[in-house]
Symmetry: C2
């Protein structure tokens, strides 16, 4: 690696900033079929940049009925140098200005060093950081490690295609270290390195009462209202102590040891501060016997993501509706399997359903297991050193409440050491309105990747 | 009255049918402000017809910020003849083909003797029946009674304007008999005459958790999900025996006597048949100790009319939402007052709210008391005779579960005997998709009104 690689990164940063802007303008929403061509356009944009910067391979893989994966590589460091596989994703959640955004979600807007757009923090900043770091290395004459980059286009919609791709292409993806580059630091200043993520399963409950909407005067009181029945079912999914009251739900959960509780203890105070700053919720809530941080780090959840039924427009409509729907998801922890949790959920929901309505429980994604890595691996030590150099602050160790479903698949099919290198921050509004990334963190992220490659190559 | 008045009604029926079609084409939705001009257009259409048929007065009353009332009169029967005030309404509930209609809701379509359109049965068929009967009388040289007609444009949105109008215009509206022409018979064949209606109050529950939508991975498990909190509140509003578990809710309810239970008993079997035919619900539901008919006739309810929160689009979005909203209404029975019920409701909902969320309970309408009339009044006897002549079947007596808020106001401010003369039918889909009226019933309705005027005049 040429010594002025970091100078290259800084010199090109204005161009890097413009690239991020261009990628954010593409509404690559993978959860809405009408945006499929936008997702494809973003994939092509990434592959074109890989080619332009001198990566020796840049390919788009698109199976029938799926959205594309982009794979790029540069293997010029030689057989004795380590090989690093970078994973990130370029698809985004839905967004519409009418949800409450201050500016158009697909017209990036800079204010006070932050760039506001859907996907800014989750996860297009990571795509751009990773490619900009490689571009700086190649501009400086080459990288000290061999590089493989895999960008996914279905992370926000279940990641189902990449599972098969990883299983079927172990040679293509073979690496010594695999870097998952997604997710968030708690804030701009204090890096926190996660050694675990929660898994996920999502499902819907459809309750049907009368065969069509009825006049609430003509039949109200004699028909079980499906919204009421749905509320009655949903209200029985948690116990008064905040735990999930679905039989079998906790069967596979690993015990939380005193040793790990001590490792995570330094996170309690900063997470509580973050919780106050970000959520603005009136009072704490959650499973008794766990701190706020432990609730999101080591405990599974059952969450309501959406609900609808009856008249939801302006004013009054005295309808007794035919149906009501709730959209739910569970965050899973080691060693819960999505299949076991799904069995517990749909069995219990059917058992809770009274004869006065019918219920259908629909599994929406196959789901993903939680992910956990050895806190003492050499790769994690290199990550720790790189963040300390990039940020000038010693990182804390933690576990994160979000899910990156593909991590479990990488762990299953590749023998690489897995690490996570996030450059988002939690105030970034991922999955929410006014999503944004911090441009200072983007620049630090590029330098941190350069430190990481150096640390790995130096062994 | 000229003896061939009935022949006039039949001769002009094709023109009457076309008038109904024209009125149904006007989307006079009073609950949506954007339709205010359509409501005004419908009022003008009614006033124009009144003038054209020879009524001696036809006026539109529109107070600021309100939708119009149409008042028409013909007082040519002389001072010794009785005066009848007819009340009905020409505004309608919202409707959109995408709700599941087979045809466009504001393009009336005839199939098998039914006319399908929003407002067909609730209540534009009544506007047209009442005016067509008067037109037949005036064409035959005059009516045997003095006639006043009041058509409301805000019945579906709370009826607040007409309350003041009735209170302020007792001389204009003075009559011996007041006919409320709205509502439904159970079917095309068996007339049922109602001597009572339920009242109504509507409100919304707004639950707020975090200040903005959050990523369900980053914070799920540590924040009380507002959809879950709303479901937990809503689930506590009914007891397991189907009764409303809001303290004080039943305080003002009149006892249900054995004598009245016997009067209503003939309604049990036909209502159960209707319930099976219309609702298609999987199993009966409701307050223990009451038949299905008694549940809608003599018992108050708490009904969920709508619910929404979080992501309600296609696919999955793992959001922990900021807010959730439920739209509710209560049907009231004698002698519950909306104010007392509102006090009970909002006090109890606040008491049920945990500190982890905030709640706002919004009263949406002032509401209306239930309505009940003397089963032995001379006017009710004339109504009974008229339906028996019009339908050729002896009517049953009943109480109806719907609400016509203005009835309580007429009872309070006018000294007239009140009766109800409905010509809709319950399969007509009022407030639902594929609303329709039966054209045979429209024609019978016109003849029934002619019989009624004759019976009143003959004393």
């Amino acid at each position: 690696m040429h010594p002025d690689t970091h100078a290259h990164a800084d010199a090109q940063f204005s161009a890097t900033r413009n690239r991020l802007d261009a990628l954010l303008r593409i509404p690559s929403v993978s959860t809405v079929p009408a945006h499929a061509d936008d997702v494809r356009r973003a994939a092509r944009w990434i592959a074109d940049w890989m080619t332009e910067m001198g990566m020796t391979r840049a390919e788009i893989y698109e199976a029938e009925g799926r959205l594309p994966l982009v794979y790029g590589e540069w293997l010029g460091a030689g057989e004795t140098a380590p090989t690093v596989l970078i994973y990130t994703h370029y698809d985004v959640q839905p967004a519409d200005k009418s949800d409450g955004w201050d500016t158009e979600p697909f017209e990036p807007t800079e204010r006070n060093g932050k760039l506001y757009a859907r996907g800014a923090v989750d996860s297009k900043c990571h795509v751009v950081i990773q490619l900009a770091a490689i571009e700086a290395l190649l501009k400086g004459g080459g990288a000290p490690v061999n590089l493989k980059v895999l960008c996914e286009g279905e992370e926000e919609s279940g990641s189902e295609h990449i599972y098969a791709f990883v299983a079927q292409n172990p040679d293509l993806l073979r690496a010594d270290v695999c870097v998952i580059s997604d997710g968030s630091l708690p804030n701009e200043h204090q890096p926190v390195l996660d050694y675990g993520l929660r898994g996920i399963i999502s499902f819907e409950i459809h309750v049907k009462g009368p065969r069509r909407d009825l006049h609430s005067g003509h039949y109200g009181g004699s028909v079980h209202n499906p919204i009421q029945a749905l509320a009655e079912i949903v209200a029985q999914l948690h116990a008064p102590d905040g735990s999930v009251s679905v039989p079998g739900f906790y069967d596979q959960v690993a015990p939380f040891t005193d040793e790990e509780r001590a490792v995570l203890a330094p996170m309690h105070a900063p997470f509580e501060q973050e919780w106050q700053d970000v959520t603005g919720a009136p009072a704490p809530w959650g499973e008794q016997g766990y701190s706020a941080h432990e609730r999101i780090a080591v405990r599974p959840t059952l969450e309501l993501n959406g609900i609808y039924g009856g008249y939801i427009g302006e004013g009054v409509k005295t309808v007794l509706p035919s149906t009501a729907v709730a959209k739910l998801s569970c965050r899973l922890v080691p060693y819960q399997t999505p299949d076991h949790v799904w069995e517990c959920l749909h069995t219990h929901i059917h058992a809770l359903t009274p004869p006065s309505v019918t219920v259908e429980v629909k599994r929406m994604e196959m789901g993903a297991e939680a992910f956990i890595i050895d806190r003492t691996s050499p790769a994690l030590k290199a990550v720790t050193a790189a963040y300390e150099q990039g940020w000038g602050v010693k990182p804390l160790l933690s576990r994160e409440g979000g899910s990156i479903p593909v991590t479990a698949e990488f762990q299953r099919y590749l023998s690489a050491q897995l690490v996570m290198m996030p450059f988002g921050y939690k105030n970034g509004g991922a999955h929410s309105i006014n999503e944004n990334c911090d441009l200072g963190m983007v620049q630090k992220g590029i330098h941190t990747m350069l430190h990481f490659y150096r640390a790995l190559a130096d062994g």
